[in-house]
Amino acid sequence: MTITEILSYGFIQRALVAGSLIAVLCAVLGVFLVLRRLSLIGDGLAHVTFGSVAIALFLRINPAIVTLAAIPLVLLSSFGILKLTDKARIYGDAAIGIVSSLGIACGVLLASVAGGFNIDLFSYLFGNILAIGTGDLVLALVLFTVVLLAVFFYYYDLVAITFDEELARTSGIRTRTINTVLVLLTALTVVLAMKLVGIMLISALLILPAVTALQVAVSFRATIMVAAMLAVGSVVVGIFGSFILNLPTGASIVVVNFIVFMLVFSGNKLRQAH
């Protein structure tokens, strides 16, 4: 089967477009999250998304708008993580752990009580590009624009708090606001990414392109650009590869990302050795 033939499938076209948009968002936010040692927030929010999807399915919300329906609860949970860290004097990783396990617990309980939507939930856990409809594509485009514009407008503030939060505060930066913006943007991206790579694999999309780009960093701006390009490349190769080899798409994207990381890491080590 030729590439032109593969590209003639509507679901492949939608997956490629949505996947590329999501890849860019994950890579851009991932650089900030990895450097702030908040990589696992993606994992935590993904688990909350699992709970939110379970609630949406339990309430028999139309499957076409489940992604949209999950957004408010995930945003609320991201606020929960921030409040726990801020007010309850709980370390960030512990707060993520609490909210994350609560999300999984809610999902499992509801799935058990309802019984009837286990198959749908499985597709959210591991991703299903066949499930990416035109509505998801529009949602991806809207959220892509919102998230990227927010990063554009808050770029220097985000860099400053990523470098050092105390120093940023003495520059008059409202660090609490910027932290909230970062977590909310991550929450939106996680919800968006769940149909592509699945809830279980979202954090890989946030972490791998960022850590790969950091291996070859020459500046902050360049790191973000490289991460975005690597992420898009990995998503495209992963989608094509999974289609040709009849493999799960989400897992294929993650494995391609990991291979790219290993190649860049090894190349970097070899370069340093010489």
Partner: protein, 250 residues
Amino acid sequence: MSLDMVATTELCFSYNGAEVLDKVTFHVRQGDYLGIVGPNGSGKSTLVKTLLGLNRPAHGTITLFGTPQEQFCDWQKIGYLPQRLKFFNPNFPATVEELVRLGLLAGKSFPKHRAKGDDAAVDETLEVMGITDIRKRLIGELSGGQQQRALLARAIVGRPELLIMDEPTTALDPETRERFYELLQLLNRERNTTVILVTHDTWSIGKYASRFLYIDKRVVFDGTFDQFCHSEEMTGFFGEHAQHIICHRH
């Protein structure tokens, strides 16, 4: 009469029930070069962080440029160089130039993007600090001295009226330290930048600072270094031998 850049009244701060600052009252005038000295755990760094709003005082008042600190928002007037960055990440991918540019954020309103004149300010600061040649290098690749110069460049690029530094020379070799102090003196004399310098290095205070504040949770001495060395009260406080060591090391 010149303006008080910083003024505190009976400032108190406690941490987990332990008193760290006890009724600290002092002021800093425009053009001052104030050296703050004290033993380990005397509250020097806490004082600086409290001035900058990073700690909330239990009692007392702080005014910055005549404005109560909690209402102060002209952060471009203040440059801050911390003792060490709380979570310094040696893999942080910013170049020296990108780091210095962050020092211009304080004076900007939303959205904080590159403005006309920013490039010239960055170029000039890199030149003054003697780090133009390493502007494209990542900060994690630099030596301690180069990193400290880059951080000082970040602190002064917005031409602050007040520069607050917390033990900035700890990681520097003697030669770099001397150059660092000369640079501060230049900023103080030529740009009339007010300097607050927390240090263990009484030698530098004696040589460069116009005022000397000795604190040990409370203000023990506030005056010139010369006054300190000839104060009988301080002789009584420290003992003659210790006072001699502090005053005659240089």
